[in-house]
């Protein structure tokens, strides 16, 4: 996987845990560089929307609304995608493997799927899939946005520049 990415002049990136904790703090997009210094609030997927889902769409909870534009920490699974998605990956409360070529948007993503966005300086980085649970921290954004691939996201997590780091092929093979 890594060799393939390197040969394509793309950068493989590995997640790094931001060792932060404590109460929530407000952050803006231009303060991402100092994100590491901000405390993060633990946010759980199950607190996003009223469950079970009713007969129409989703109802956001007060917890999610309060977390909007706050620094939060999420524990979840990286969605295993078929296509490279530079600059972002999806995080879900349960493991999901997508088959975009065969199924497109007819997927098994739960409603609580979070689009995790790398720092703008890393928008061309491809984050390799990491199995198991991962912890990510960043600034949460709630609301509709259409992504470059046409998908609509409702909850996004903006990472800072130090949330991930580059790895080379030698390191990956070890």
């Amino acid at each position: 996987m890594i060799n393939r990415l390197v040969s394509r002049r793309r950068l493989a990136a590995a997640l790094a845990v931001l060792g932060i904790g404590g109460s929530a703090a407000h952050a803006s997009a231009d303060s991402m560089a100092s994100l590491k210094d901000l405390p993060a609030k633990e946010l759980r997927f199950r607190d996003f929307f009223r469950m079970p889902i009713g007969s129409k769409g989703l109802e956001t909870t007060e917890v999610l609304r309060r977390a909007d534009r706050q620094v939060v920490r999420l524990v979840g699974y990286m969605v295993q995608r078929e296509n490279d998605t530079p600059g972002s990956f999806m995080l879900t409360p349960i493991p999901v493997q997508m088959s975009e070529h065969a199924d497109g948007d007819a997927d098994d993503l739960p409603a609580t799927t979070v689009l995790v966005q790398l720092d703008p300086s890393q928008r061309d980085w491809v984050t390799s899939h990491t199995p198991g649970l991962v912890t990510v921290s960043g600034v949460l954004h709630v609301g509709r946005r259409e992504e470059r691939d046409g998908r609509v996201s409702w909850v996004r997590l903006q990472l800072g520049p130090s949330a991930i780091r580059r790895i080379d092929a030698d390191e990956a093979s070890n």
Binding site: M1, I2, A12, A14, L15, A16, V17, F45, R46, F49, M51, P52, I53, G54, S55, K56, G57, L58, E59, T60, V75, Y77, Q80, E82, P93, I94, P95, Q97, S99, H101, A102, D103, G104, D105, A106, D107, D108, L109, P110, A111, S128, H129, T130, P131, G132, L133, V134, T135, R144, E146, G150, R151, V152, W154, R165, I167, A172
Partner: protein, 686 residues
Amino acid sequence: MKYSNPHRLPPSLFRSAVILAGIVATPLQAAPSVSRLTPPSELFSSGRPAPVIARFLPGQRFDLQATLRPDSADKTIVGARFVIDGKPVDALVALRDCSVGCLPDIAKNAAIASVRAVSVERPGIHTFSVTATQSDGQTVVADGNFEVASILAGGRKVKNIVIILGDGMGASQRTAARIVGGGYAQGKTIAPLAMDTFPVVGLVKTASLNSIVTDSSPGMTSYVSGNKNNNNEEGVFPDDTTDFFDNPRIEYLSEYLHRVQGKALGVVTTADVFDSTPAGNAVHTSNRRAGTGIVDQFFDDRRRTGLTVLMGGGRKWFLPASQTGSARSESNDYAFSAGDAHSAEIVNRWGAAAGKIDIERDLLAEFQAEGFRYAADKTALDAIDPAKTDRLLGLFSLSNMNVALDKIDGRRNKPRGLGSGGVVDDYGFPDQPMLDEMVAKALAVLERQKNGFVLLVEGASIDKQAHTMDTERWMLDTLELDRAVKVVQEFARRRGDTLAIVTADHECSGAALIGGSIVSDVKLQELARAGGEAHLRDKVVGPYEKAGFPRYRIAADGYPETTNIDRRLLIGYGANADRYEDWRTNERPVQDKEHPFLKQPPLAAHPISAKARDTEGRFLVTGQVPGDRAVHTGTDIPLSAYGPGAWSFTGVFDNTDVFFRLAQAALGGVVTPDGLSPLKPTRRTR
């Protein structure tokens, strides 16, 4: 057949023409060319009159189209006309230039000529041609052919048609489901699948228009249009524009039978309803991923298709964009311009809706305003009285419905999810119906249609779970489909006027029953902890007589009490990506203590691999295909038939043949197929 333009010659003949031209010292004169002629034909592509690619029913509608290229950048195409069997087609020829909106390899001064919704009544092979005129007066002619099939009259007509499609369900998936659901004793089946009791079986060839390996779009549409489509395309032939919805169309079985007989259409699936198989019964698009436009077209063209029942997942497309959870997007919506004859003629001649870019549309409300009763969960579905219901919409999840294993676990209150609930609770839809329950309600509503109906029933996640090589999940989805088959069979048996077929669109994953485990489940877990192929392969896999007969105990709900039995059935994959295998049912990793939950190691130290499941056993099965998922295969697939007309489904036949055999039963009536005529009495000679 005539060639007035050497650009249309087959390559070998073209070389000969150049050599000949050199000998006689006559330079070839530049001329416009035809780079695509639709319907597709070998006559156009290779110059050979056979095999005939496009085939239609008498009166079935389709579009004529040609891509026309001037011989230089300073010229244009100024006119085009189509001829069928020497007679001009009496309809407007829409000429669209390619200054914008065509594929990158199409010159800006190229043009696309179309005539929409033509049809031919007379059976037989027909030749058609396009003649294009360039701005300097030069012309080019290109020929193609198509066939109109004969419908034999005189038999008893079937009233209802039910197509039951196990997506990705090849022979192996059926066999595995039979072993798990029914079991074997000394080599004999204890309880057959319902689909095994269908009296007629045939083998279907599944290639699409552009590949020996089809995807689900042309896999479905071949059955209900009689024609092959390109992969990813539904109810259309390929074209050279970037618009997803303007391709040359082919009339679907639902549209045809609604137009000539007033039949209704039902679509029931466990997938998102915009997915390839359900959409491939009513929606015309070259992009199976255009969700917003696809669900809009389901509704907008309901009077052309007779759409009466629509059930599955996919609520995300039905919610206005401002409603949280909506996936509606302008980028995949559709609208036909009234000012451009190329697309306006789709509205004028097909009678199709014009569409609109309207992501704030509340499609859920519009369905209900049109008289569709809406069910959001099983409880609501159960509460619907079919005797008082003309139309039915069921949307039981935002995207795909959960698979049978997880739905059943939810009903059994088996915690497999994140918290104390099941996976269905994690998804927020704990009350989803099973496919057989949806089908029972659909049949009850559709039975009230006095002119009959066409019903599509899809078990979608046999394929989706085979892609991820999640053996137990596709096994149970096959059992779920078979329970729906039984419901349809009982309906058809009771009525006597319903033809039902069970088949697939293609096989998925190259699944193979390689034998059985020779160890208990407890021992299997021990071997998984020891890890490696020496333990998980050599001490587990029992081929031949070592496999014995795995015995799964079936609970009252019709599904195995557990799939983690001793001496379990083992499945290998012939079209697999790399995967780790421990043979056990995949639990949610949150229950797996081996996962690094909150141990907070540097996550960069995690193995970086797409092979994420069952890694603890360290039994890596290397695959033959790149990527992380098993793929569709091009092997033939079984088709079983039940009811009047079933006997026409014997032999080995093309997927498009299915359409004509269904149509024969509905239009001309049930006739004895070729080769099955009764033995003629012989005269005694003295």
